[in-house]
Structures are given as C-alpha cells and as structure tokens.
Amino acid sequence: MLVLDIVSSILLMTGIFFGFSGAVGLFRFPDFFTRVHAASITDSIAVILIIAGLLLQTSFDLNTAKLMFILMFLMITSPTASHALAKSARHGGLLTLGESKQQQKQQKEQMQQQEAGQ
C-alpha cells in the first residue's frame, strides 16, 4: 500500500510540475501558436499524470472506470480543441512571430523603396 502511495504522489507531483510549466509558458512564450503548445502540455501530459496518480488511489470499482472515462475523454477532446483553435486562429489571419517579423521587414523595405522612388 505504501509503495502505491509513494508512486501516486510522485505521479501527482510530476503532473503538477508540467501543469505549472504550461501555465508559465502561457505568459512567457512570444506568439499565440507557441502559447497553444504550452497550454496543450497542461491538457495532455499533466492530465495523464494526475489522473494516473488518482487511479492508484482507487480500489478497482466504479470510480476507476469513471476516472478512465475522464482520462479517455480529455485525451480525445483537448488536443482536438487545441488543434481547432489553432486552425481557426490561422484562418483568422494570425501570424507566427517569425512571419510577422518578416512582414514588418517587407513593409519597411517597401516604405524605403517608395521613399527612394520619390
């Protein structure tokens, strides 16, 4: 029993670590698409680890099945949601950091050319 508790604590703590790193990434990453990456870490690996940690606390009854259901469900839906969101953002015209830098550069060059032409 004790071993199970220790393993479960380790799983929970690792899950929390990933959750934190994702949440920090939500603020620290430079553009939207990298931030999606950070957020989807908390939705995938952190969820797996925390629910696995809780699974070790159950005694193979209905709750185990429910936890498995939650895990399976989140595993299907959250990557889909991240994907669909990123796709919508792309269609809505959002650019990655590299692209927006390039765009700015091009605009600058055009401005300079216009000035030179004048």
């Binding site: 469900f73 299907i76 839906t77 889909t80 669909a84 796709k87 269609h91």
Partner: protein, 330 residues
C-alpha cells in the same frame, strides 16, 4: 482546507465579476461568464451541494454560453456607449446594497447547528426519508417526492420559457430548399478532425446523459441534468454538422411535442394517483407497497422532467440558431 479553497474561489469569482463589468468587448464578457459559472459550480462542489453543482455545470457553463454566443452573432460584439450619467444608478445600488448588508446582520451565524433552516423540515426529511421514500440520494427524494409540487412548477416554468422564446424568435422550421442547405453545410467543412471527433463523442455524451437520468436515485443527477446533457449532445451535432442536419434527426415540431409530453407525463402521474384514491402526486398509491410506489413515481416523473428539459433546451437553441443562419444567409 475547505475554508481556504472557498476563500480562493470566492476571490477569483469576485475578480471575474469585476472584470466583466468593465469590459466593453461582449465576446470577452461571454468567455468570462463561462469562467464565472465554472467557479460558482466549484464553490457548490466545495459546499458539498453536488446536485446543484451538476446543474450549474451543465446549464451555466454549457448551454448558456452557447445561447449567449448565438445572441452575440445576432446583435454584434461591442457594447453601446452609454452617455447618461451613472450617478443616480450608483446611488440606488449603494442604497440597496447597504440595506441588504444591514439585513444580513439579523441573520443567524453561518453554519451554526441551531439555525432555523436546520430546525424546520430538514430533520424530518433526513430521519424519515429512508423509511418513507427509500432512496439513497436524499436530494432526489426531497426534490421529486416531498417537494413534487415545486418540481412540477419548475418543469412548467421551463416549458413556458420555451413558449416565450418561440413566440419572440419564431419557431425554427426545417428547411425545404436544398440550395440554402448547401450554404449552411459549408460552415465547418474545414475542420475535418472536429467532425471525426464529434462523431466519437456524441454517443458517449448521450450514454452519460442516460446514466445521469437513471442513476439520479443513487448519486448526483436526475431529470434536469440529464435533459440538459442530452440536449448538449444534439447541440454539438448541430454546431459541427450544421443545423439542418440536426433538424433532420430531431425536427423542431417533434421537439415541441416532446416538451408537452414531458410535462404531461409528470402531471399524469399526479392524476393517476388521484384516481387511485390518493392526493395529487401521492406516489404511495401507485403500487401495493408504498415504497415501490414511491420508486415508480420518482422514476416516471424524473423521466418526464428529463424529456421536457431536453426538448425545451434544444428547441430554444434551434430558435436562436435558426435566426443566426437566416441573418447570415442574406
């Protein structure tokens, strides 16, 4: 520990509410309202009010977000500039708030065991309901049996909400013209992943709704929650595969029939028990053994509530979505 969690949740709730007031972008307001209802449901969980949290989760975070978004699609995204001075409203609000706070000074201390609320009918319900109703979930036995009248009233209120919305927005009709349908189908074609995943998810949601419906006697859940969850499954279908597809599965006319059927099913249990010689909604008369009768009665009225709520929620969504599509096709 529970107090600490409560404090954190309540402060997050207050911050969210304040932010909602000062935001001008209504889309952001809708998003924050989603968080607001998630937070209030968490507070209910923390207070151990599992059934209430269930309803708040299903209605507040799910259906109302969808409905508010469709309203936004109809009306536009930014709040109108308010030119009038806000001094008088502020004074009124401050006066009312002060009166309310003054009123709470007379209230008994929070959570004390000898509060009037714990003295009135609660002890009787807690002591007698295992003998009289025999359900493990006390909330269901209070809601469906002791307070069967109130629940009937609530179901009628939900039904009349549907009547109100439909008479304001106009009932959605199934579209006969196939050209229009083609325009609508184009909506989510780009999201292939979403379509596949939705196909996987929808049966699971309906299965879970049935579990909530029939497990309400033993755990949290019941007709209200199950109806909302089942409606959410169909709303997901309509969102991903277009409204006209969803209307081919469940037509708006059929939903109106279902809504009335649900309310009538509830009422008919009452009438039947009167015919059997009892009072209105007296489940004891439904079978030879009063406990079995209670069980039957609760099962049937929960089913009635579930059907009515499902039909009402879905047809309100249809009415909104129909308006949205009509306004964008033009």
């Amino acid at each position: 520990m529970a107090v600490l969690i409560d404090l954190v949740l309540l402060s997050m709730l207050a911050i969210t509410a304040l932010r909602v007031i000062f935001l001008k972008d209504l889309f952001a307001v809708v998003m924050l309202f989603g968080i607001y209802s998630l937070l209030s449901a968490l507070i209910f969980v923390n207070l151990d009010a599992v059934d209430v949290a269930f309803t708040e989760a299903a209605v507040g975070a799910g259906i109302s977000t969808v409905l508010m978004l469709s309203t936004l699609a109809l009306t536009g995204r930014t709040e109108k500039e308010n030119k009038r001075s806000s001094v008088l409203p502020l004074l009124v609000v401050i006066a009312t708030g002060a009166a309310l706070i003054y009123g709470t000074l007379d209230m008994p201390p929070f959570g004390a065991a000898d509060n009037p609320i714990h003295q009135h009918v609660a002890p009787r319900y807690i002591e007698e309901s295992p003998k009289e109703v025999g359900l493990p979930n006390l909330v269901t036995s209070v809601l469906a049996s002791y307070r069967g009248f109130d629940t009937f009233g609530e179901t009628v209120v939900v039904f009349s909400a549907m009547v109100g919305v439909l008479s304001l927005l106009g009932a959605a009709r199934r579209r006969e013209n196939s050209d229009d349908a083609a325009v609508i189908v184009a909506g989510f074609k780009g999201h292939k992943v979403l379509r596949v995943v939705a196909k996987l998810i929808i049966p699971l949601i309906i299965l879970f709704a049935l579990y909530v419906q029939f497990h309400g006697d033993f755990g949290p859940g019941g007709g209200f929650q199950a109806g909302v969850i089942a409606a959410a499954a169909f709303i997901l279908y309509a969102l991903v595969f277009s409204l006209s597809h969803a209307m081919q599965v469940v037509s708006p006319k059929f939903l109106q029939l279902l809504a009335s059927l649900g309310v009538l099913l509830y009422a008919s249990v009452g009438i039947y028990s009167m015919l059997k010689g009892g009072h209105f909604l007296d489940y004891n008369k439904l079978a030879a053994d009063p406990l079995v009768g209670q069980h039957f009665g609760i099962l049937i009225i929960e089913l009635g509530v579930g059907i009515a709520v499902f039909a009402v929620m879905l047809s309100i969504f249809y009415a909104f979505a129909h308006q949205v599509e009509r306004s964008t096709i033009k």
